[in-house]
Amino acid sequence: MRGHGTYNTESGKCAASVAGVVERVNKLISVRSLHARYNGEVGDLVIGRITEVSHRRWKVDINSRQDAVLLLSAINLPGGIQRRKTDADELQMRKFFSEGDLLVAEVQGHFQDVPQALVQRCKTHFHTLPYGVDLALGLNGYIWVSKQTTQSSKDQDSDAIYSNDNEEIDQERREAIARVCNSINALSRHFLHINDTTIKLAYEASLHFPVKDLLKLDVMEAITSEVKAGIR
């Protein structure tokens, strides 16, 4: 059966009308184009940036055609328990998120932008790399790289979720974060899939070079070719 991004040729074969990734659900075959805007789907993990605070809702940039809406009623309020949101909460919306905020509260990292088609759907999008770096792969192509958090988010008190203060990050950790970011950048430039395996491969390949050299084009190529060899 033909899905989006396909058509029937005259000889009765099913062909792709866009360059992209083939997706198959039972008999339905569709092609997701590589350079399309992100299309949200229920259950996706995305990373976004607040662009606007308005009446009982935030507008969030999620790399999509339109800004997404985050309702006040959809967030966890301090105190932990689920309760009706009052007018008082509405008045202090900027306390939770204000314009420019990234959408997971404890930012300890940097923000990376890759073509969204490169991020595959998988079981988990939160990874902890063995270099003391946490990773959140947004399906919209935004990637969150941060320092590994010590306590799990369950025992955190909910005020800390909305805090803007960073923990102290030492020199070594900073370098590791930059290295991961640059590795991801190299992967996206050379159009390779981005998941924890490829990132780990790229990171290990990059260890031959100082961090700032990873911005050089020939070094990027060397790293990605090693990753390609690793995947096969």
């Binding site: 360059a19 940036r49 790399n63 990234l102 759907r121 988990t124 960073n166 290295r179 961090v211 050089k216």
Partner: protein, 452 residues
């Protein structure tokens, strides 16, 4: 797409990173990104260059040297005296909306003006190093005007530095035609522009054109070559323009923050030393590129053995080689073809008719269409099909001829032949695909390989 907003935690991360001398992408405070420079890309321009900063910021500059009049209207006398002996430089910077969302619509207008003025201020004074007096042809009348147009194709921070770098390289690439001035007496001067591309010269003083270094003050430190996020964190910016001798040619402070006097001094010094080394490496780059081109050129000439004239074979200097004129590529269009076909038949018929009329007239028959005396009969035919009835006749003739052609055994055979060829090609293609048995590529469908 560079973000236009920044969260306080990112702000903090960058601030502390600058303090620790490890920026978000692993660079130190005074590390520049890789600069990729190309020159001579635009055939129609007198000179051009494109510069990229680590595949991020991308700027294309074209320089066009044109003849123009020296304008002295409404200028004070002492200024006019200087102006009368000088050419001009006119700059324009445009931010393309493909570079960033913030340039879409009218968003780029103010920014364009800001960048244009900055470039204009530096290049239009004595600090630019360009010898504008050499651009004057006839004092008070004619001069060369240098148009510098910059287009921002991609934006990833540090735009002004890139624009200045590219402009310098484009000016290096620019060649001005030679002029031969003749005095024909009575105070009248005539000049001629030489066609000899080989003899054209660079604008005098291109090597003294300064580059700019933008220093971003973040916290109590300063960094160079900022990324968009770092630019959002920046409190105050200082633009230092430096020429190759290390002379500071201009300073501009922007941004809301303040700069401590001692820090200001330090920033200017950093800008100076960085600018000088930047110029050195840029010059090295453009020279190497030109050498490469010349080497290829001489090799080609040796291969040609002087068969092809080498007047326009030198790369990328105007006037462009003839082949650079874009000829429209026309696909086969049945309607157009039919129209052409009709036109041809019509013309043939008209010619015949005219000939007949001419002959009849010679034979003394007066009562036929007389067109033989009209000198521009060809134009007339094209504008108004002469007689309605004859047009109808022509159309039916055309129809018949076309049908004849279609049903002729020759065209049938041609069609059959084409079909056979296509079928054969398709079979061949299928066979190769099957026999090659390509390894699975990443874009082919696979079951999810991620097992966690």
């Amino acid at each position: 797409m560079p973000p236009t907003l920044i969260s306080p935690s990112e702000n903090d991360y960058i601030l502390r990173g600058v303090d620790a001398n490890i920026r978000a992408d692993g660079r130190g405070r005074l590390d520049y990104r890789q600069v990729i420079l190309e020159t001579g890309l635009i055939t129609q321009a007198s000179g051009s260059a494109r510069c990229r900063l680590g595949e991020g910021t991308d700027v294309l500059v074209g320089v066009k040297v044109e003849l123009g009049a020296i304008e002295l209207d409404g200028v004070e006398e002492d200024v006019a005296e200087i102006k009368a002996k000088r050419g001009r430089v006119i700059c324009n910077v445009e931010c393309s909306p493909i570079a960033s969302q913030q340039f879409a619509g009218r968003g780029a207008d103010d920014f364009n003006i800001e960048l244009t003025q900055m470039l204009d201020r530096v290049l239009n004074g004595p600090q630019s190093g360009l010898d504008l007096e050499k651009l004057c042809i006839i004092p008070g009348q004619q001069c060369w005007i240098v148009y510098i147009d910059a287009i921002v194709l991609d934006y990833a921070g540090n735009l002004l530095d890139t624009i200045f770098m590219t402009t310098r390289a484009a000016l290096y690439n620019t060649k001005v035609p030679k002029t031969i001035i003749q005095d024909i007496g009575d105070g009248e001067i005539v000049f001629d522009i030489s066609d000899d591309v080989e003899g054209w010269e660079r604008i005098e003083g291109w090597d003294k054109v300064p580059v700019a270094i933008t220093l971003n003050k973040i916290g109590s430190r300063h960094i160079v070559d900022a990324t968009p996020l770092e630019e959002l964190t920046t409190e105050a910016k200082l633009l230092v323009t430096v020429n190759k001798n290390g002379k500071v040619c201009g300073l501009q402070k922007s941004g809301g923050g303040s700069i401590d006097p001692s820090l200001l001094n330090e920033m200017v010094q950093t800008g100076r030393s960085l600018g000088q080394s930047l110029i050195k490496s840029l010059d090295e780059m453009v020279r190497r590129e030109e050498n490469d081109i010349n080497l290829k050129q001489s090799r080609r000439e040796r291969a040609d053995n002087g068969k092809n004239g080498s007047l326009y074979s030198k790369r990328h200097h105007s006037p462009p080689p003839m082949r650079a004129h874009h000829q429209p590529v026309m696909k086969f269009n049945a309607d157009m073809w039919m129209q052409d076909f009709k036109q041809n038949v019509m013309e043939k018929l008209f010619k015949e008719e005219r000939f007949k009329a001419f002959q009849k007239k010679r034979r003394g028959l007066e009562n036929v269409m007389d067109v033989s005396d009209d000198e521009d009969w060809q134009e007339q035919q094209k504008i108004t099909p002469v007689i309605a009835s004859s047009q109808y006749l022509i159309q039916s003739v055309v129809q018949n001829e076309w049908e004849n052609y279609q049903s002729s055994p020759f065209s049938q055979y041609q069609l059959w032949l084409q079909e056979q060829q296509l079928l054969y090609a398709a079979q061949q293609y299928q066979q190769t695909v099957i026999t090659k048995n390509l390894p699975p590529e990443w874009f082919q469908y696979r079951e999810s390989t991620n097992n966690e």
